[in-house]
Symmetry: C2
């Protein structure tokens, strides 16, 4: 019985069973101090036998490290949070650090409640993450007695933040289209008040500068409907029509692809389409399957987790906002001209 029923074995039980004092048991188990090799082995064997595992609460009380951190997110339905949390956890689990997940639903009361619980539990640090980069935490995180890391969110300059490199991601998409020979590339994207949307649009324009025409950006609501609507507007206008469309999200791209088909245009033969997000349920199901930009959310979480680990160990971590590269996932929605 490794895990055991009833009362858990304590170091006292180990010491008793091994016929040594508690501190010797502790020393032996932790490899601290000078311990006779034979004693150490015996203690370790006994500990194993009775299924002893040190009480992390007691340890934490003494060391002031709870080996747990909190993630505060505003995301309940989780296309962004879960891969990111998985990445964070992956980076930390080998170090015995567990992750409290706190979904605030953007409610300040809930956020405060969660934060207080985290503080009471002496978490070693807090990671804040959100569904959009330019969203402030629903509760003040600026003067906490532990490190704070922002993942998929932009904290103050004096903190550590990880975000996807939207500019580079957009460049990836546009340059892919350019390299295939497309020259009239349009950008159909989300609402202009999202900083990510503005960055992608700016990068798109910069890429086109000098090559192709100067492009055109259509801002609109997220979602498939907007893809349909944007295509309708686009086709209602005089020629020449674009030979490629870079979409600000996979959902929009799906709407665009469906709308193009409805209008008798073929993807990728008549017009190429690239998306953004690599949200599998959408991108893998468009017809044809969607070439799109992947923000590497899991890796982003992993990086945030590693940074947190360094911070909790007092190691220096570069402050400021670190933009992590995106990658292009090539499927079937683009072809050469």
């Amino acid at each position: 019985m490794t895990l055991g029923h009833g009362r858990r074995a304590t170091i006292r039980d180990v010491a008793l069973a091994a016929g040594v004092s508690i501190s010797t048991a502790s020393n032996a188990l932790n490899g601290q101090g000078r311990t006779n090799a034979e004693t150490r082995d015996r203690v370790k064997r006994v500990a194993e036998e009775i299924g002893f595992r040190p009480n992390a609460l007691a340890r934490g009380l003494l060391s002031r490290r709870s080996h747990s951190i909190g993630i505060i997110t505003n995301d309940t339905y989780g296309r962004l949070t879960l891969p990111m949390t998985a990445g964070v956890s992956e980076a930390l689990v080998d170090h015995g650090v567990s992750v409290f997940l706190c979904a605030t639903n953007n409610d300040p009361r809930l956020a405060r409640l969660h934060l207080e619980a985290l503080l009471d539990k002496q978490v070693d640090g807090i990671i804040f993450t959100a569904t959009r980069l330019d969203l402030a935490p629903p509760v003040d995180l600026s003067s906490l007695p532990m490190p704070v890391v922002y993942a998929f969110a932009e904290g103050p300059d004096t903190s550590v933040s990880f975000v996807p490199d939207d500019s580079q991601g957009a460049r990836l998409a546009v340059e892919h289209l350019l390299s295939l020979g497309h020259r009239r590339i349009m950008h159909i994207t989300g609402p202009e008040d999202f900083v990510a949307v503005r960055r992608r649009a700016a990068a798109y324009r910069a890429c086109l500068d000098g090559r192709g025409d100067k492009g055109e950006v259509m801002f609109g609501p997220w979602g498939e409907d907007w893809g349909h609507e944007a295509v309708r507007r686009m086709l209602a206008r005089p020629e020449p029509r674009p030979d490629a469309i870079f979409c600000g999200s996979d959902e929009t791209a799906r709407g665009v692809i469906d709308a193009l088909r409805d209008h008798g245009l073929s993807v990728p033969a008549d017009i190429a389409v690239v998306g953004f997000d690599n949200w599998h349920v959408v991108a893998a199901q468009t017809r044809p399957a969607l070439t799109t930009v992947d923000m590497g959310l899991k890796e982003l979480g992993r990086r945030a987790g590693l940074a947190m680990l360094d911070l909790t160990q007092g190691k220096p971590v570069p402050l400021g906002i670190k933009a992590l590269g995106c990658s292009l996932v090539v499927r079937k929605s683009c072809g050469a001209v």
Copy 2:
């Protein structure tokens, strides 16, 4: 400064500042024992002023309750886990209980690692959840020193489990179609080795028994592609064709709807379609928007959380598998005959 920098205030600081002993401070703050009203108020005021919050580690060490639980899931990309976790958390946060989220990715090594971390941290309980009902935990949970609750998973009879009522959900869908006058209702669903798939199919058949024809079930892989393929097969056969299709998932339903349109059939005019999942990104975006069954995952999580709360407080909780009702979300994909 409510949250404070640097060293956290302890009950010692409160006692000192209030001019009482530590134990009096403790009594006053917790309303235990006999305490002079005036003293109590003073202590409380002082505690508030210096931003005292009791150290949950120290408390837990003494009370053997850490006020935290663990959720172990095999789900990384989270269409199921996150709403459920949100529900669990919602039920617990008001009681000061925080939730460790452990994504195992079905890897026994990872599961074991997470479980050990949870045990070390003296969690008050563990909730296991999965992407399908008939998935066994990747690590043995049967003899843990704390309660285990299964959410969207079926534990042993001697444990507490919450699952969606797939039979009732399927009945909801089929009876809706029957009430609209449909009589030739077909069922296009997922792989037969999923217990949920079998239950829905059985309920579908039972509903049709005596009314309409005896129906037909097409099992296949999950996903939109299967929806297309199933429709192709269905239309390749001799008349009469169904007047309604009940799909085992929203993704399949989306494939079905798209395929029907491709074949010149109109939804809902020519044929009605119902889905299962109410996965918003899919169901709200089909054209027309999908009428579908909602499993109430958040509520399921909430129920699991409440059960866990009772268990940790030693209250009796009915053992066995509790099936929670689904609801029908009516959108535009069904019409009367």
